[in-house]
């Protein structure tokens, strides 16, 4: 079994009117089967309201399944005795960095998680140091969080999660509120966690460029998994993604447009490198 596994996961919201009578039921997650292996980098795409965030909240037991099951590292999220273990193993980072930082000083904020877990003081400081180094924020350890940029604050939030030594980390649109530089910093930090520390990553995003290096991509629509595959497999289906209100990276879109105009290019080009090589080839061939 993978580190995160869901089996026919269903989640329903019950809508009630002012008197509390049931008006209807919305199925936000509809029979999702997910299997994420240890150390994988998994991306989840989907339009607003497709169920991605609801799905993510099941993985650290903020929500419980209406039907089906979720296991994190073999623990069923409905087992109350495992709740704290699950939350410690699957850390979560949200969209707005300002809602996630509570400390007056960066290092205090990062130490909050392990402190609550009862980690001995010396070890807390070790963890704070290594976590801040992992996201490249160690030189800011004595700063007040409100003096930091959005990207820096978001990296502090991530460090706060890593300090709890999770096996996986779930990021729900962590770059939505950031400028281009902030986005780059956060994506770089997340990739390093995955590559260097071997932490399993589940990244939810609307920015297609951020996930071209993912091992696996799931695309959600109406609570179901509508597509899954490698980034190349997913992004070679430009028209289908557009139907699902999504997009592809600009490089991929340009290649797709050129292909439609008769240029001989392979499908699913993901990087500038790949496009320049393919175009060079196409140019030679035409001569």
């Amino acid at each position: 079994m993978g580190i995160i596994k869901t089996d026919r996961l269903v989640f329903e919201y019950i809508r009630r009117d002012e008197e509390g009578n049931v008006e209807g039921i919305t199925r936000a997650v509809d029979e999702v089967d997910l299997d994420v292996k240890k150390g994988e980098f998994v991306a989840i795409l989907g339009h607003n309201g497709s169920g991605k965030s609801t799905l993510a909240k099941h993985i650290n037991a903020i929500l419980y399944p209406t039907e089906g099951s979720v296991w994190v590292d073999g623990m069923d999220t409905r087992e109350e005795k495992d709740l704290w273990n699950i939350r410690q193993e699957a850390g979560m980072v949200f969209q707005n960095p300002d809602n996630q930082i509570i400390g007056q000083v960066v290092e205090e904020d990062v130490g909050f998680g392990p402190e609550n877990m009862g980690v001995p003081t010396d070890e807390i400081w070790e963890r704070v140091e290594e976590s801040l180094k992992a996201v490249g924020m160690y030189q800011y350890r004595k700063f007040s969080p409100n003096k930091l940029s959005g990207g820096q604050k978001q990296r502090v939030s991530i460090a706060g999660v890593i300090a709890m030594h999770p096996k996986c980390i779930i990021l729900d649109e962590p770059t939505a509120m950031l400028d281009p530089n902030g986005r780059r910093e956060v994506v770089r930090a997340v990739r390093a966690l995955n590559d260097v520390e071997g932490i399993t990553v589940l990244l939810i995003t609307h920015y297609m460029e951020e996930i071209i290096h993912a091992d696996k991509v799931f695309v959600m629509d109406k609570g179901k998994v509508a597509m899954q595959g490698t980034p190349r497999e997913i992004f070679s289906q430009v028209e289908k993604l557009k139907q699902l209100r999504l997009d592809v990276p600009q490089v991929t879109l340009l290649a797709h447009e050129l292909k439609k105009s008769g240029v001989d290019l392979p499908a699913g080009i993901l990087t500038v490198e790949e496009l320049t090589q393919a175009l060079e080839h196409a140019q030679k061939y035409r001569h």
């Binding site: 989907g46 339009h47 607003n48 309201g49 497709s50 969209q95 940029s149 959005g150 990207g151 649109e173 939505a176 509120m177 950031l178 400028d179 281009p180 530089n181 902030g182 986005r183 609307h206 297609m208 460029e209 557009k242 209100r245 999504l246 997009d247 990276p249 600009q250 490089v251 879109l253 340009l254 447009e257 050129l258 105009s261 240029v263 500038v272 490198e273 496009l275 320049t276 175009l279 060079e280 196409a282 140019q283 035409r286 001569h287």
Partner: protein, 284 residues
Amino acid sequence: MSIILDHVNYIYGSDTSLAVHALKDINLVIPDGQFIGLIGHTGSGKSTLVQHLNGLIKPSNGNIYFNGEDIHAQDYNKKKLRSKVGLVFQYPEHQLFEIDVFSDVCFGPKNLGLSRQETELRAYAALKQVGLEDDYFYQSPFDLSGGQKRRVAIAGVLAMKPEILVLDEPTAGLDPKGRDEILDQIAKLKEETGITVILVSHSMEDVAKYVERIIVMNQGAVMLDDIPREVFKHYKELEEVGLAAPQVTYIMQALSKKGMPVRTDVTTIAEAKDEILRVLGSGR
């Protein structure tokens, strides 16, 4: 009809030890009917700048003129100014509050003291301008999707009939389709009504696609102010201040480096496609 900023400076907490010089000697002319992109990293002064445009913040020194009148003159009617310069803040859907969509959009014009008929006509027109279907008019705004809520919030500002519409990151958090829909709608609105639009954005791709002029802010000062093609030629300097050029610009740079004779000052997918096809075609 225009906004002129003349040597505008703004200092937060000027009489404290934490004083921050947020705007430094800003001189700008914003003529009628332009579609302007305002970019800059977090903390570069974009939001402080736009809050000056309708008098929400008073400059520490310097003057702001709207249609030739100093907006901070003693007898200037600021209430009227605020109906002329409409500001749509980040996540404007957090400001929705009424029981249904239509009442929410009516709130602004009603407070201008307009008749009920005029208020409702304006609300209807504004909701049409943002492309919201009639079916949603009497639904609670809280039951709508993210993109729809945001349209309602924008309609609330449009119902004031502004001459200048300032949007602070109107697409943050929306899915790609929702993003394109909102921006297409704004471009169409600009086309039809000739309204001036100032778009604050973190997406270089969006700015390149829609606007005719880009103002780049850095550390409280205007760093660049030109048409997109010229601004993105400075991509190295943009990177130094936490920004970037659109991804296509980098593609063209890479192709050019490989010896393909393409122009490198390309900023949109459509331009890049034509340019590459031109070069490939001439090679035949």
